[in-house]
């Protein structure tokens, strides 16, 4: 293990390491701690210039209450869910199938197609902006959740296929051969042999895509406008112009907007990190 395990070092370093950990963490998360502090402060604190000190009074219920009952926030949150969940399902479904095809079968254009998916994933998405916006407008899907979902599914399929294909390739191939010898149809092999083995990959990918899509901002402002279909990342800017310079409300709104992926991460941490670090170990 590197660096030297702490248990094998001098007593002084052991103690100082234990003391250093929480200090480092507080410094690292200082911006977040500050925002959390903002969100429970009364408005008068900001008027009096008490930005970073302890709250003058505890106003969390008031501030968060106004976020939920006094603004379009709940609507934006709902939009985000209605965009994110179909995208996760769509992208994972498409990439499972594509990953199966690319991971199991040998045909000449296998590698070129695989690399097309990888390459598309690296492309700066600004180059897609004008044509995709045009396409969405002409399909009458501009400013709809469907328009956003369709694009997200397509774009995420690149990364997801890379992920799924590599996962399926690592599965024991004799399993599939055995099924073929038994005369099982190929689509049944996918459904009953490969798919059950892909559960960890499905979980990892779902959490990851959930976070990516929830946090998307660029496409939200390109393809939608207004509270009817905008997700919460774009909605927060409208929210902020509604409560201009009301830091206690803006920070409460930001925390609400950021929370779902955070919850997802803490609940599914193992899967999340497995998905993110795919390929970091060979």
């Amino acid at each position: 293990m590197f660096p030297t395990p702490i248990a094998k070092t001098s007593r002084t370093w052991q103690v100082s390491y234990q003391a250093l950990l929480p200090v480092a963490l507080i410094i690292w998360l200082l911006p977040l701690i500050a925002v959390a502090n903002f969100s429970i402060k009364p408005e008068s604190d900001f008027v009096n210039g008490n930005y970073w000190g302890l709250p003058g009074s505890f106003e969390a219920f008031n501030n968060y209450g106004r976020v939920f009952f006094d603004s379009d926030m709940p609507r934006y949150l709902l939009n985000s869910l209605l965009i994110t969940i179909p995208t996760v399902i769509g992208a994972v479904a498409l990439s499972c199938m594509a990953g199966f095809a690319l991971g199991i079968y040998k045909f000449r254009s296998n590698l070129p197609i695989f690399f097309m998916f990888i390459a598309g994933n690296f492309v700066p998405f600004q180059i897609l902006m004008v044509p995709v916006r045009d396409l969405t407008v002409s399909l009458n899907l501009y400013d709809t959740k469907t328009g956003l979902v369709l694009f997200h599914i397509a774009f995420q399929t690149g990364f997801c296929t890379l992920f799924m294909r590599n996962f399926i390739r690592a599965l024991p191939f004799p399993l599939i051969e055995a099924a073929r010898v038994e005369g099982i149809a190929e689509w049944r092999i996918f459904l009953f042999v490969v798919l059950p083995l892909m559960k960890p990959a499905l979980a990892a990918l779902s959490v990851l895509i959930f976070t990516f899509i929830w946090n998307d901002y660029f496409w939200a402002v390109v393809l939608t406008q207004g509270p009817d279909s905008q997700p919460v990342t774009a909605g927060i800017t409208a929210f902020n112009s509604q409560f201009r310079a009301a830091y206690h409300l803006m920070s409460a709104g930001s925390i609400v907007a950021a929370l779902p992926p955070v919850l997802m991460f803490f609940l599914m941490q193992k899967h999340f990190i497995a998905g993110l670090t795919l390929g970091a170990v060979k």
């Binding site: 293990m1 590197f2 660096p3 702490i6 390491y17 950990l21 998360l29 911006p31 500050a34 210039g49 930005y51 498409l94 594509a98 199966f100 095809a101 690319l102 045909f107 296998n110 590698l111 197609i113 690399f115 990888i118 390459a119 690296f122 492309v123 700066p124 600004q126 180059i127 897609l128 902006m129 004008v130 044509p131 995709v132 045009d134 396409l135 369709l150 397509a154 399929t157 038994e182 190929e186 996918f190 929830w214 946090n215 901002y217 660029f218 390109v222 990342t233 927060i236 830091y247 920070s251 930001s254 992926p261 955070v262 997802m264 991460f265 941490q269 990190i273 670090t277 970091a280 170990v281």
Partner: protein
């Protein structure tokens, strides 16, 4: 599977199988690929080509496109008798700044990973809390940092003020510092990402090699450089890929923190492109597409390199 007959197959008794049955192995992959390829082609592959096409036109996004040849590029890059588009010049150099400074996330991530790669009680909690910033939307990160940078009352201003440094207009209000302020905000989640990559990589480092090196008297930085880093190569590669792509895609933070200002000093190509295409002064889609194409070519070098190394690994695996 459990219903498969004891006798291996009844195929022999069916001399004429359907066309699909006979070609099953060849056809199935294409059926499985079809939906993904269709989506990907319509929304990703074809639009890349269309962007190239549009960049040779003048177009407001609604009416007819007017063919203008390379006029957009001439205006952008200052070919011929025109001078280079000043906004483009600023954006380009800001992109370079992003690219170089964003790479700091890699050593910073490695440093934190080394710091946290211990087994003391509660270390799992610390690891996930250190990773936390990556999960938060960049929009929220941008907001948080813009409050952090507020002139006069922001925490950053208070700290620098304590040391007698006064940045006029605040970090984000001063054209000389604004871009660096945004990059610092971007480094926060990016470092967390690199850290998690390295933590996973460190987990897989071969303990026997480390022990052997230790017996040979290697320690500290020499151990890190000659024994550990070579084994972390896959993690480093991915850290490079995601950091470079993240740097060139930067948009959210700029849009939220400064909206390109002050005086356009924080524009990058991706932001400038968005601004030109969908600005309130009318949609200049053709010019926007031309900027996107330039960004694409800047990125192409990196993409080609990434693909090439992945391709080499694929070939090596066979």
């Amino acid at each position: 599977m459990s219903v498969s007959p004891a006798v291996p197959s009844t195929r022999a008794s069916q001399p004429k199988r359907g066309w699909y049955k006979r070609n099953e192995i060849a056809i199935t992959p294409w059926l499985f690929l079809l939906p993904a390829i269709l989506f990907f082609a319509v929304y990703v592959v074809i639009p890349i080509g269309q962007s190239f096409w549009i960049s040779f036109h003048e177009w407001d996004g609604l009416g007819e496109k007017t063919w203008v040849g390379t006029a957009n590029y001439e205006r952008l890059l200052g070919w011929g008798d025109q001078s280079i588009d000043r906004k483009f010049e600023t954006s380009f150099w800001n992109n370079i700044r992003w690219l170089i400074l964003y790479l700091l996330a890699i050593p910073a991530g490695l440093f934190i990973a080394l710091f946290l790669n211990q087994s003391v009680t509660g270390i799992r909690f610390y690891k996930s809390m250190f990773f936390f910033p990556f999960v938060i939307s960049q929009v929220v990160v941008g907001l948080v940092f813009s409050w952090f940078y507020l002139p006069n009352v922001g925490m950053f201003d208070l700290i620098t003020g304590f040391f007698g440094i006064d940045i006029s207009g605040g970090v984000l209000g001063n054209p000389d510092t604004a871009t660096y302020g945004i990059i610092a905000a971007g480094l926060w989640p990016q470092t967390a990402y690199c850290m998690i990559l390295y933590l996973t990589g460190l987990n897989a480092v071969d303990p026997e090699q480390v022990e052997a090196a230790r017996l040979d008297g290697a320690k500290g930085s020499r151990m890190l450089w000659y024994v550990i880093l070579p084994q972390l190569k896959p993690a480093t590669f991915i850290a490079f890929v995601v950091t470079i792509i993240g740097a060139l895609r930067s948009f959210d933070l700029i849009s939220v923190m400064t909206n390109g200002g002050p005086f356009g000093s924080t524009r990058v190509l991706s932001f400038y492109m968005f601004e030109e295409s969908l600005s309130e002064f009318g949609f200049r889609m053709g010019y926007g597409a031309a900027i996107a194409v330039v960004l694409f070519f800047i990125m192409l070098g990196f993409i080609a390199y990434f693909l090439w190394s992945m391709y080499r690994d694929e070939k090596g695996a066979r």
